[in-house]
Subunit: 311 residues, 2 copies
C-alpha cells in the first residue's frame, strides 16, 4: 500500500490527513498551531505528528510517497514560503526543513487557497477534471487556478488571486490589499453585507431583513423565502461574481468552476443566481461551463496538499 | 544539426520558416493558401513545400525534430482543428493528415494567436520567460496565455480569448461574438476608432484629428504630438486595456505582458499609457510586472509554431 499525508497549516490549527495515494482519506486529525517565537515549533510539531501516526499505523517510510503541505502565504517552486503572516513566519525553506525532520520523506508545498482548488479537482466538485477555477467565498475571496492538473502559482505566487480583480470603479473604500474596487470587497461574506447595507439604506419596501442581524446567511435565508430586498442584494452580489468569473474564463477556459467557502453554504440558489450573470457575459465557447459547489468543505486543504505529492 | 519547421496558415498566405531547434530562423518564405474546395489542397501544399525545402537544403528526415503548425481556429490536444472558417475547414485531423503526407515527421498544431504568444516567449518580447500574457491588438483583440512554457488551450480551445472579456456594461453595439461590451470592441484598431468618434462628437477643443482620416495610426500620431483630444482618446483606450490586463494577471500572474498586433506599432507611448492604468489596478504583487512590445511582428507565428515541436 502507498500512503501520503496532506497537511493544512492554518493560523489556529494544523489539519492533518493520512491518505492512500488513490485519494482515500484514512484518518484525519488536528493539532494546535503554535505561532509563538516566530512559529518555530510548527514544523517540528508537524513532523512529530506524522512520525507518530506512521508508528501507530505500522507504516514504513518506504510506503510513504510524500507529505504535501498547504500554507497561508505565497509559495515558490513548491518548496519555499515567501512569508506567512498568520504563522509568524518570514521566508521559510519549508520543504528542506521538513524533509530533514522526516528523514528525507519528500515534501511539497502549496498556497492554501491554491491547494484547496487542487483538492476539489481531485476528489471534490471538480473530480474528473484537470482544468478548473475555484473561488472561495469567505471573509475575503480566495482562488485557485488549475491548468492541466497543476496549480498555476504565477511569477509572484499571485496566481489565482481573483479576489483582487478590479470590478467596481465607483468603490470608495480601500481593500486590504490597498486597491479599491476588488472583487473581494463585494463578493465575499463581508462584501454581500456591504452591498446589503447600501441597498437597505435606500430601501422603502417591506423586508424580513434587519440590520441588527445581517449576514451572508440571513440575506440568503431571506432570499430563499422570496424576500424582494434580499433578491436585490443577492442579484447585485451575483452580478459581480458571475461577471468576474466570465472574464476569468476568457483567460484559462476551465472545464468547471467550483464555488466554495462559507458563503457557498447558501447552496444551489447562490449558484443559480451567479450562473445567470456568468452565462450572459461569458465567451460563447464557455457559456455552458458548469458552475458547481465545492464538496470537501474544510477538508479541501488536506486533500489538495496530499495531491501535491501524488503524480 | 537539428531542424524544425514553423508553419503559420492564414486565410491568404501560408508563412513558412525553417529553424534550427535552438530557434535560429534559417529561411522564411510564403506560399498561397488555396481555400477552394474546402481548403483540401492546403495540407498537401504545406507538405510539398516542406519536402522541397528539405531536398533543396539536403536535410534528412532524421534531422527534422518536427513541424509545428498554427491555424486560425480552436485546436484540440495539439493535433486536431475544430473548425477554421478562413481556411474553409470543418473538423480536421491536421496532425494525422500532415504526418501521413510527411512520411511520419511529427506534427503539432496550435491556435494562431496562442502560437504567436509562444513565439514571443521563445525569441520575442518575452524571451527568457515561461509565463506570459500576450495581447494582440489588431482589427480585433487576440490573446495567448503561456504557463510554465506551455500554451493554455483551455477546455474549449478558448484559453487566451481575452478579446472577449466583458469590460463595458454600457456598450450598446454587439461584438462579433454576440456579446456586448467585449474588450475587443474598445481596445483594438477598430475599438480606438469607436472610442475616438464618440469623443470627437462631443469635442469642442481644437484638434489635429479629422474624421475623414481617422485610424489608430492617426490618433496615436496626434497623441505623440501632444494633441489634447487624441490624449483623451488614447487615455480611454489605455484605461480599458490596462484595467483588463490587471484583472487577467490576478488569474495567472505572468512574468511579462507582451503587446503585439498592428496597434502596437504606436510603440512605447502606447505601452506607457497602458502601464499607468495597469499599475493602478493590478494586485500588489503584480504591479511591477513588465509590459513590453512584441518583437517578432508577423514572424511570431512561425517562431511559435516551430517552438511547438521543440522541448
Amino acid at each position: 500500500m502507498s500512503y501520503c499525508f496532506g497537511i493544512d497549516i492554518g493560523g489556529t490549527t494544523v489539519k492533518c490527513g493520512l491518505f492512500t495515494t488513490e485519494g482515500v482519506l484514512l484518518e484525519k486529525w488536528e493539532i494546535k498551531t503554535r505561532t509563538e517565537e516566530n512559529g518555530k515549533a510548527i514544523l517540528p510539531d508537524v513532523a512529530e505528528t506524522i512520525l507518530k501516526k506512521m508508528e501507530e499505523k505500522g507504516i514504513e517510510k518506504t510506503e510513504v510517497t510524500g507529505v504535501g503541505v498547504g500554507v497561508p502565504g505565497p509559495v515558490v517552486k513548491e518548496r519555499e514560503v515567501q512569508v506567512a503572516v498568520n504563522l509568524h513566519w518570514g521566508y521559510t525553506m519549508l520543504a528542506d526543513d521538513l524533509e530533514k525532520l522526516l528523514d528525507q520523506i519528500p515534501v511539497k508545498v502549496g498556497n492554501d487557497a491554491n491547494v484547496a482548488a487542487l483538492g476539489e479537482m481531485w476528489k471534490g466538485g471538480g473530480e474528473g477534471t484537470k482544468n478548473l477555477i475555484m473561488a472561495t467565498l469567505g471573509t475575503g475571496v480566495g482562488g485557485g487556478i488549475i491548468v492541466d492538473g497543476k496549480i498555476v502559482t504565477g511569477a509572484h505566487g499571485a496566481g489565482g488571486e481573483i479576489g483582487h480583480a478590479f470590478v467596481e470603479p465607483e468603490e470608495t473604500e480601500s481593500c486590504n490589499c490597498g486597491n479599491k474596487g476588488c472583487l473581494e470587497q463585494l463578493a465575499s461574506a463581508t462584501g454581500i453585507v456591504r452591498i446589503g447595507k447600501k441597498i437597505m439604506a435606500e430601501n422603502t419596501a417591506e423586508t424580513k431583513l434587519h440590520l441588527d442581524n445581517f449576514s451572508a446567511k440571513t440575506i440568503f435565508d431571506a432570499y430563499k423565502e422570496g424576500d424582494s430586498v434580499a433578491k436585490q442584494i443577492v442579484d447585485k452580489f451575483a452580478e459581480y461574481l458571475g461577471t468576474a468569473l466570465a472574464v476569468f474564463t476568457c483567460v484559462v477556459d476551465p472545464e468547471v468552476i467550483v464555488i466554495g467557502g462559507g458563503v457557498s453554504k447558501a447552496g444551489q440558489p447562490l449558484i443559480d443566481a451567479v450562473a445567470g450573470y456568468y452565462k450572459e457575459h461569458a465567451f460563447i465557447s464557455c457559456k455552458d461551463t458548469p458552475i458547481v459547489l465545492a464538496k470537501l468543505d474544510n477538508d479541501a486543504g488536506i486533500y489538495g496538499a496530499a495531491k501535491l505529492v501524488v503524480a
